[in-house]
C-alpha cells in the first residue's frame, strides 16, 4: 500500500459543486450591495431631497450608529449565540454615564476609558452567563431590562446634560466632510473584517458558530468565545453611546430605542446565517447602510412610524427568506 500509484482511486465528488458554492458566497455580498444600490436609485428617482448631500450625510451618520452596534453584535450572531437584546440599553446607559462624567469635569480620555471599561464588564457578565448555559436571548433581555431600570433610577428619567464642550468635536465635526461617527464606523468595520478573517480569534468565533462540538474537539473553548463576543458587542454599543452623547451634549435613557431591531435587521439583511458560522462584517456594514437609508427615505416620504417599522420588518423577512433559500439550494443539490 505504500506505492501511491497502486492506491485505489475513490469517491468522485462533484467538482463543480465547489465552484457553485463559492459563487453563491460572492453572490451574497453582491445581493446586499445591489439592494443598497437599488434603494438609492429608487430614492433618487422618487425623492429629490434624498440625494442632497446634507441628507446623504444624515444617512451615513445614522448608518454609522446602527452599524457600529450591528458590527459588534455580528460577532455574537456568527458565534451561534443569535443576538443581544441589551445593546440599546447598553448604548443609552453609556451615553448617560458619559454625560455624567463630563458634568463632573472628568478629562475626556478618562471618561471614554471608564465608560468602555464599564461596558466591557457588563458584556463579559452576559457572556459568562451564556457560557454557563444561559439562553442568549433571555440573558440579554434580562440585562437590558436591568440596565434600563438602573438608568431610570439614577437619572430619575431626566435628560443628563454634559455641561461641557470637551466632546463637541467628537460628536459634530466632519473631517473631509464626513461625520466623525462615520469615520469611526468605517474604521470599526475594517477592524471587524480583519479580526474575523485574519485572526485566530475570528476563526474560533466562526468555528464555534459553525459547530460548537467540533470546535471543542479541536481545543477551542466555546465558553471563552461566548464571553469574548458578548464583551465585543457591549463595547461596540457603548462606543455608539459615547458618540451620541457627544453629538447632542446629553445622555437620555430613550436615545437608542428601536436600535436593537435595527441592528438585528442590518445583520440579517447582510445575510449572516442565523445559526452562526457564516457571515461577514462587511455585509453587516452594508446591511446597516441599507436599513438607515430605508428609514431615512421613508421619513422623507412622510411615512408614519408604524408604516416605517412595517417595511423594516418586510425587509428582514425578505432577506432571511432569500438567503435561506440560497443556502438550502447550495446544500441539497
Amino acid at each position: 500500500m505504500k506505492d501511491p500509484a497502486t492506491r485505489l482511486e475513490i469517491s468522485p465528488d462533484a467538482p463543480d459543486e465547489a465552484a457553485r458554492i463559492r459563487s453563491s458566497r460572492i453572490a451574497t455580498i453582491a445581493i446586499v450591495g445591489a439592494a443598497v444600490v437599488v434603494l438609492f436609485l429608487v430614492g433618487w428617482l422618487t425623492t429629490p431631497e434624498f440625494v442632497r448631500w446634507a441628507n446623504l450625510r444624515n444617512i451615513i451618520r445614522a448608518a454609522a450608529m446602527i452599524g457600529m452596534i450591528a458590527l459588534g453584535m455580528t460577532f455574537i450572531t456568527l458565534s451561534g449565540n443569535f443576538f443581544s437584546l441589551s445593546v440599546s440599553q447598553t448604548g443609552a446607559f453609556s451615553a448617560i454615564a458619559f454625560a455624567y462624567m463630563l458634568q463632573w469635569d472628568w478629562p475626556l480620555g478618562l471618561a471614554i476609558i471608564a465608560v468602555l471599561a464599564g461596558a466591557l464588564i457588563v458584556g463579559a457578565a452576559q457572556g459568562g452567563l451564556v457560557a454557563l448555559g444561559g439562553n442568549p436571548i433571555v440573558v440579554t433581555l434580562g440585562f437590558g431590562a436591568a440596565l434600563f431600570g438602573l438608568g431610570s433610577t439614577l437619572t430619575d428619567n431626566k435628560t443628563i446634560r454634559t455641561g461641557s464642550t470637551a466632546a463637541d468635536w467628537m460628536g459634530t465635526a466632519r473631517p473631509l466632510g464626513i461625520p466623525t461617527q462615520t469615520w469611526a464606523f468605517i474604521f470599526l468595520a475594517i477592524i471587524a473584517a480583519v479580526v474575523l478573517t485574519r485572526t485566530r480569534f475570528g476563526r474560533n468565533v466562526l468555528f464555534v458558530g459553525g459547530n460548537k462540538f467540533a470546535a471543542a474537539a479541536s481545543g477551542i473553548r466555546p465558553s471563552r468565545v461566548a464571553v469574548q463576543v458578548f464583551s465585543i458587542s457591549a463595547l461596540a454599543a457603548s462606543i455608539a453611546g459615547i458618540f451620541l452623547s457627544a453629538q447632542f451634549s446629553e445622555g437620555r435613557l430613550d436615545s437608542f430605542t428601536g436600535d436593537d431591531i435595527n441592528a438585528i435587521a442590518a445583520i440579517l439583511v447582510g445575510g449572516a446565517a442565523l445559526q452562526g458560522g457564516e457571515g461577514s462584517a462587511l455585509r453587516t456594514a452594508l446591511g446597516a447602510v441599507f436599513i438607515a437609508a430605508l428609514e431615512n427615505l421613508m421619513v422623507l416620504r412622510k411615512y408614519s412610524f408604524g408604516v416605517r417599522k412595517l417595511w423594516v420588518g418586510v425587509a428582514i423577512l425578505a432577506a432571511v427568506s432569500l438567503f435561506n433559500y440560497l443556502r438550502s439550494r447550495a446544500r441539497t443539490t
Partner: protein
C-alpha cells in the same frame, strides 16, 4: 430481463433513469427493480449513485429521464407526497424521531391516530401491534424516545413506516450506527417484512449483510447500473470486483514491522463508561485495535484519554510526562490527536471550507500573536491533504459537499496537522465505502511506519484483525484481553466481545 414469469414480475421497476447535477451525471440510464417478498440489496461505492436513486424514490429529486412503474403502471414520483402515496418509504440514516415524545406518539407522528386528545393510553394500545412486528413487544409504548438506545430507535423508525402502511421499504445503511449484535434485530425485522410480502431495498456498505439478507443484489458503479444478480450466484470477491471494476485492491495493508519504545501509557485510568481501571501501553509504530460493541467502553476509553471527558482516576502518560486530564487543548499540544466516531457531530465544520477544517486543530501552529499566517496555513492544509490524499483542488470546497469517504479523510486527516505522537480514531471507517476504507487503512499504516502510534476503536471484528498489531477486546466496560494480532482470531475476538464468561474460559 426478458420473459419474466408473472409471479416474478417486479412490484417496482425503474427504467432508463438519468439524473444530472451540473456537470456530473449522477445516474446514467439506470435500471432498477424489486419484487414482492424480496430483499434487493443496492451496493456501490460512495458517489456511485445509490443515494440519488433513493432520493428519486423518496420524491426528493425528480429524474431527468426514465420511467417508474408500480405494479406495471407508470407513476409519477415528483414530490414526497406522491412517493408516500405509492407506499414507498425510506428508513432514514439520520434518525428522524422526536426525542421528547413517547414511542407511541412518534409511531403515529403526522397521523391523527397520534393526536394528544385521544389520550396516551389509547395511542399506546394502537402502537402495540406495530411494536410487536419489529420485535419490540416488551417495550412500553409510553416511554419517551430519549431513553432508548440507537438500535431501539432504529426499530421504532421502521415500525413507524410500517404503521403508515408502506409496502416498499428502503433501508439506507440502517446498521451503520449499530454494533454487530444490535444489527441482528434490524435483520430479523427485514426478514419478517419480506416474508409478509413486503419489498425491501437495502442500501449498505457491509457486504456480509448483502449475503446474509438479500435475495438479489444490484450493483451501481459510476452512475450506471448492472443487471440484478441472485446473491446465491456470487461470492464476496466477485461482488467487490463488480463494485470496484478494475480498481480492486487488497483491503488491508500488510502488518507493521517497526516497533519503537512506549510512547503512551494508561495507568489505572478510570472514567465514565469504564467498569474497571485500564492499564495499557502503546508503542511507536504500533497500531492498537480496541475491539468492542457499542457500549463496551472502547469509545469511552478514547474519550477519556483524549481529554474530552474527565477521568475518575488514574492518568495518561505521554512520552514519560503526565497529560493534564480533561484538557483538550493541552492534549492536542502535547501530541494526542482524537477523531470521534461521529464526524457530523464533532468532527467537521460542514459549512466551512475543507482547508479550514484541515487546520482547525493546528491554529496555534499557523498563527503568531493571534494573527493567522496565510501562507503557513495554506502550506499546512496542502501538506495534510497530501498525507491523506485529499484532492488539493477541493481545499476551497465547503466540507459538507464532499462524499462520506472524503469527509472521513478530512475528519481523520486534520489531526496530522499538529503532528501527534499518538493518533486515536473511533470507528475509522464508519459510513465509508470499500475503496475509501482501504485507502484510510493504508494511510494509518503509513503513519505507524513513520513512527506514530495509532489507537483505534471498532465494532467491526474484521477491521480490527485486518489493521491492528495489538488487539484489545472489551466487554461491558472491562478489558477482556490484550493480545498480539498473531495470537488471536475471529472466533476468539468475537467470543470475547460478546460473552464475558466464555472469554474468561478461553484466556
Amino acid at each position: 430481463m426478458t420473459d419474466t414469469p408473472v409471479a416474478e414480475a417486479p412490484v417496482l421497476s425503474m427504467r432508463g433513469i438519468s439524473k444530472r447535477f451540473g456537470h456530473i451525471q449522477a445516474l446514467d440510464n439506470v435500471d432498477f427493480e424489486v419484487r414482492a417478498g424480496e430483499v434487493m440489496a443496492l451496493v456501490g461505492e460512495n458517489g456511485a449513485g445509490k443515494s440519488t436513486l433513493v432520493k428519486i424514490l423518496a420524491g426528493l429529486y425528480r429524474a431527468d429521464a426514465g420511467e417508474v412503474r408500480l405494479n406495471g403502471e407508470a407513476i409519477d414520483l415528483g414530490g414526497v407526497l406522491k412517493s408516500e402515496h405509492a407506499r414507498i418509504a425510506v428508513v432514514q440514516q439520520e434518525l428522524s424521531l422526536v426525542p421528547t415524545l413517547t414511542v407511541a406518539e412518534n409511531l403515529f407522528l403526522g397521523s391523527s391516530r397520534g393526536a394528544a386528545w385521544r389520550g396516551p393510553r389509547r395511542v399506546g394500545e394502537d402502537a402495540a401491534p406495530f411494536l410487536e412486528r419489529v420485535g419490540l413487544e416488551d417495550l412500553d409504548p409510553l416511554v419517551s424516545i430519549e431513553h432508548l438506545s440507537v438500535a431501539e430507535r432504529q426499530l421504532i423508525e421502521i415500525a413507524r413506516l410500517v404503521a403508515r402502511d408502506a409496502r416498499i421499504l428502503i433501508f439506507d445503511e440502517p446498521t451503520a450506527a449499530l454494533s454487530e449484535k444490535e444489527t441482528d434485530g434490524v435483520k430479523r425485522v427485514v426478514r419478517r417484512l419480506r416474508d409478509e410480502g413486503g419489498s425491501i431495498i437495502y442500501v449498505t456498505h457491509r457486504l456480509d449483510e448483502v449475503f446474509d439478507l438479500a435475495d438479489r443484489v444490484t450493483v451501481f458503479r459510476d452512475g450506471r447500473s448492472q443487471p440484478p444478480v441472485a446473491t446465491g450466484e456470487l461470492d464476496v470477491d466477485e461482488l467487490i470486483h463488480r463494485m470496484l471494476g478494475s480498481r480492486l485492491e487488497a483491503m488491508y495493508p500488510p502488518h507493521g514491522t517497526t516497533r519503537g519504545e512506549v510512547i503512551m501509557a494508561l495507568e489505572n485510568l478510570r472514567g465514565p463508561g469504564l467498569e474497571e481501571a485500564v492499564n495499557l501501553e502503546v508503542r511507536r509504530g504500533e497500531i492498537v485495535g480496541l475491539a468492542g460493541q457499542v457500549g463496551s467502553g472502547v469509545s469511552d476509553l478514547l474519550r477519556v484519554v483524549s481529554g474530552t471527558v474527565p477521568p475518575f482516576g488514574g492518568r495518561v502518560m505521554l512520552d514519560g510526562k503526565p497529560v493534564p486530564p480533561y484538557n483538550l487543548g493541552a492534549s492536542i499540544r502535547m501530541g494526542i490527536g482524537y477523531a470521534s466516531s461521529d464526524r457530523k457531530k464533532d468532527g467537521l465544520f460542514l459549512g466551512r471550507k475543507v482547508a479550514e477544517n484541515l487546520t482547525a486543530p493546528s491554529l496555534h501552529l499557523v498563527s503568531r500573536g493571534g494573527w493567522l499566517l496565510g501562507a503557513r496555513e495554506r502550506a499546512m492544509s496542502r501538506r495534510v491533504a497530501a498525507l491523506f490524499q485529499i484532492d488539493p483542488g477541493r481545499l476551497g470546497s465547503i466540507a459538507g459537499t464532499l462524499s462520506g469517504g472524503n469527509q472521513q479523510k478530512v475528519a481523520v486527516g486534520k489531526w496530522l496537522g499538529p503532528e501527534p505522537s499518538v493518533l486515536m480514531v473511533d470507528e475509522p471507517t464508519r459510513g465509508v465505502d470499500v475503496g475509501a476504507r482501504a485507502e484510510i487503512y493504508g494511510h494509518l499504516r503509513d503513519l505507524a511506519e513513520q513512527g506514530m502510534a495509532v489507537v483505534f476503536a471498532s465494532s467491526d471484528v474484521q477491521e480490527v484483525l485486518g489493521l491492528a498489531d495489538t488487539v484489545v477486546t472489551f466487554f461491558r466496560g472491562k478489558v477482556v484481553s490484550v493480545r498480539p494480532r498473531q495470537e488471536t482470531d475471529t472466533t476468539t475476538v468475537m467470543r470475547e466481545i460478546t460473552h464475558r464468561t466464555l472469554a474468561k474460559e478461553a484466556s
